[in-house]
Every structure is written in C-alpha cells, then in structure tokens.
C-alpha cells in the first residue's frame, strides 16, 4: 500500500514536473539560452533572465547527497521508519530533489549511493521516488 502523502497542487509552472512520470520521464525546467536548469521551475531563468525556458527530460539517475531515516510519526497514519534523501540529479548540475529512497531496508542507504527514479502514481500526480541501482 502506498504511503499516505499530501499531494502538490498542479499549476502552470509545476504540472510538467509532477506528471512526467506518466511517460516515465523525470523532467526539469531548463533555460534554452544559457542551459541552466531552473528548479523549482519558474518561467524565467535565474541566471540570464531569459524567458525561453522549457521542460527537458533528464536521465532519471542521481547520487544521494545526504539523507535521514525518519522515525517520528508526524501524523498517525504515517508508517515509519522511512528514508528521506536529497538526491543530486545526474546531468542537471546544482539541482537536488528531496525524495524517498524505496525498495531497500532503511539501513541499506548511504551518502554516495547511486539511485534511479521510480514513479509512484497517486491520482494525477507521479511522485519521483528513487531506488538504489544494483
């Protein structure tokens, strides 16, 4: 059973990110002029102010930059423990995603582990969770 989650409200800026999983794609906003990735996504480049920005699919792999094993039941329905991690996204320098590492025991997670996206669909949202590679 999927963990209870509070889902994001989709809007013009974030819809591509939260629905990319329908096509199996992790998508990030990118400036088409200076090639900077813009996350959180916005309709303007934070480096060069270009408005020529478009979502681009990235490989969907990354490296665990840091993590924590959460034991606190912040609400009664929460199943603990689980891993919250900050994943550095391959091919998108400077972009990190906060996510959950799934598919392994919580004590099998470490900084530097290579991970791949695994989407979890809840309604119209595809949450980019990650699992260890190999």
């Amino acid at each position: 059973m999927a963990a209870p989650r509070t889902l994001p409200r989709l809007d013009a800026d974030n819809r591509f990110f939260w629905t990319g999983g329908a096509e199996g794609q992790l998508r990030l906003m990118r400036c088409q002029d200076c090639k900077t990735f813009i996350h959180p996504p916005r309709p303007v480049c934070r480096k060069c102010l270009s408005e020529h920005v478009l979502p681009e699919a990235v490989a969907g792999t990354g490296v665990i930059d840091t993590y924590t094993v959460n034991y606190q039941k912040w609400h009664p329905a929460l199943e603990v423990p689980f891993v919250i991690a900050r994943v550095a996204i391959d091919g998108a320098p400077g972009v990190y995603l906060t996510t959950n590492i799934v598919g392994c025991a919580v004590d099998q997670v470490d900084v530097g582990d290579r991970v791949r996206v695994k989407f979890e669909q809840q309604g119209d949202v595809y949450l980019p969770l990650f699992e260890k590679i190999g």
Partner: protein
Amino acid sequence: MMSTSEAYISGVGQSQVGIKLTRSPLLLTVDAIREALDEAGLTLGQIDGVSTYPGRVAAMPGFSPIGADELIDALGIRATWYAGGGEITSQLGAVVGAAAAVRTGQARHVICYRTVYEAAALARPEEYPVQRRERVDGNSQWFAPFNALSAATWTAQYAMRHVKRYGLTREQLAQIALTGRANAAVNPRALVREPLSMDEYLSARMISTPLCLYDCDRFTDASTVLIVSSGDALDEVACKPIRIAAMAGTVERLSWDQAEWMACYATGADLWKRTDYKPEDVDTAQLYDGFSFQAIAWLEALGFCGVGEGGKFIEGGQRIARVGELPLNTFGGQIGAGRLHGFGFAHEAVTQLRGNGGARQIQGDPRLAVCTSGGGPLATALLLARD
C-alpha cells in the same frame, strides 16, 4: 538631516514560559513589554516603533498569534515606524530592521517581540483550529509529498552530512542538549529544569537520524521582548545600554534542499567583516538550537572553529560550559529554556552582558556576546557589546 547614530538594546523582558498556558498571547506579550519598559525606565508613550517576526500568521495562529498592528492598537502606541513579517533573514531580522530604523531616525525606541503560543494552540483546537490542506503549493510541494513534514527532517539531513563527512558523533552532538539542560536547571524561567545525562540522551528515541528526541526543541508558550533604542535617545534610558556592534543576515535558496550549504556560514563570515572585533573577543555565544546541530553549524560559521570541527570543539562539553572558555546558551537554549524562537538568544546575551544572570551568570566581566537565529536557508547574527 539623517541621523547615523548607533543602535542599542535598552530594556529586555520576558513573560512566563510554559506549556498550555491559559493567559492570552496578547497578555503574555504585555507582560514581557512591562518588564522591558521597567528595566529601560521608559513609558509606553516613549515607544514610537514596533518590530516583530513573522507578524500574524492566520493559517498557523499558535505560531505567531499577535501581529504588530494589533499590538500597536491594543496598547495605544503612536508608531512612526513598524514592521512585522516572515520574509526576513529569520527571527532576529526583526531586530536588524529596528536597528536600521533607529539609525536612520525613523524611530527612537522600538519594541521588538516574538510571541509563541504553539503548545496552547495545539491543546485548544476549538480556539485555534488546525487548518487542513487538501494539497500543498509553493515551497511545501517539494517536501510534504515525501513526508519530509518537519524542519527536523530537513535539519537532520544537514547533520547527517557532518556525520558522514567529518565524523560527527552522537556523543559530540549530545553536548548541545546536555549543556543547554544543565544551564536551564539554574534558569528559573526555563521550560525544562532537570539536567540531562549522557545515558538518557543516548537511549532516547530517534526523531530523524541523527537527531533524537533531545536534539529538538518543543512547542512553548511565551513572549520575549527587546527594546531597540537610538543612540540619540540614551539619556532617556535608565539601564546600561548594550550596543549592537555588528549585524549580518543571509537568505540562501529558500527551498532548503536547493541550498548548497546552510545560510549561517555566509552570515558568520559577513558579521566579522563589519567589525574590528574578532571571534576570540567573544565572552559568550547564544546560538540558535531549535535543533541541536544548528548550534554546531553556528560555532563553525562564526569562526570559533573550522568547518567540520564543531563536533570536536564541543567534545566533553567543558569548553562550552558556563565556566568554560566559551559559555554557550547559558539560559538553556531552546532545547532547555523553551522554543522562544530566536529572541531568547538575544535576551540572554543582553542579560549576561548586564551581569543579571543570577545563578547562571558567567564569570569575569563579559563585554561582548554573539547571538543568532536561523538554521537553514535563513540566518541572522548580532554582535552585542557593553562599552
């Protein structure tokens, strides 16, 4: 003509500090204001400015129940300048704003306050209803869907980097809580008055690794007040004024996970660029410890030790004890004294510099103190001097 006088802290005050208090948050604020006015020898009629963080937050009424404009109206203050908002460099940013106001002649005496009522609000949902969100937006959307629901889980990830990169141990991390609780035991207003042992710490349940129960502050009901006075108005002040010798603040990437590093590191470096004082001149440090690791990061950020050396710096606890070379969080910090939310650190810095610490007063003749707030993408540091 613009005044360029210095800014000082005159009176400081604090209400009762507790859990599930029934006295209203406005009256707690008034209690703290009365105490601060008494110490400063000022009357309400001399107050012409008000500053707070984060102003009234309607969606989270216990988090910040009293807005600046409500306080001004309730007390009949004639304000020529006021501000209340959360979009500043953390809680003590309200003091930075007030200092800027008096230095540019916008006001002479500014009440700065932080009132928290989260424990009472949680206990009385009929008065303070919890607002349920069907969906999240803004910054929350990058955390809540992954059940990263508390700043504890965000701070824990910063702490874990120190564990992995620099070998920070639980025994080292424990010294923030142990020191705070030892100091809280001799602070009559502290929320928790019993000391904490290393065994108790090490056997506590985990909240979010490496942070255990005792690494986290908890909801508290209290109000803390500092009056910022212009150097041009010190002849009206009865207490020994404490000069704001330097101020610094930073906002990193607001989304905690996009920041390369905590904002305190830039703030700490900036603070020393704005003064001739050096870290070794500091007699006591009052450093934000909503989560224990934040105080370690601040020790590094302010140059008391190198980056990554914070764990070793506090090992054993002697150095940061009340009788140590750098007494830390002598009132108990937020972990011991309660979640006063940033303002407690400035209140204690002033108290120590005036020699008013009572049983917790540090030795010697302290003349310089640093106090901070913020622990993620926001940070503020104040250097306070008794001339």
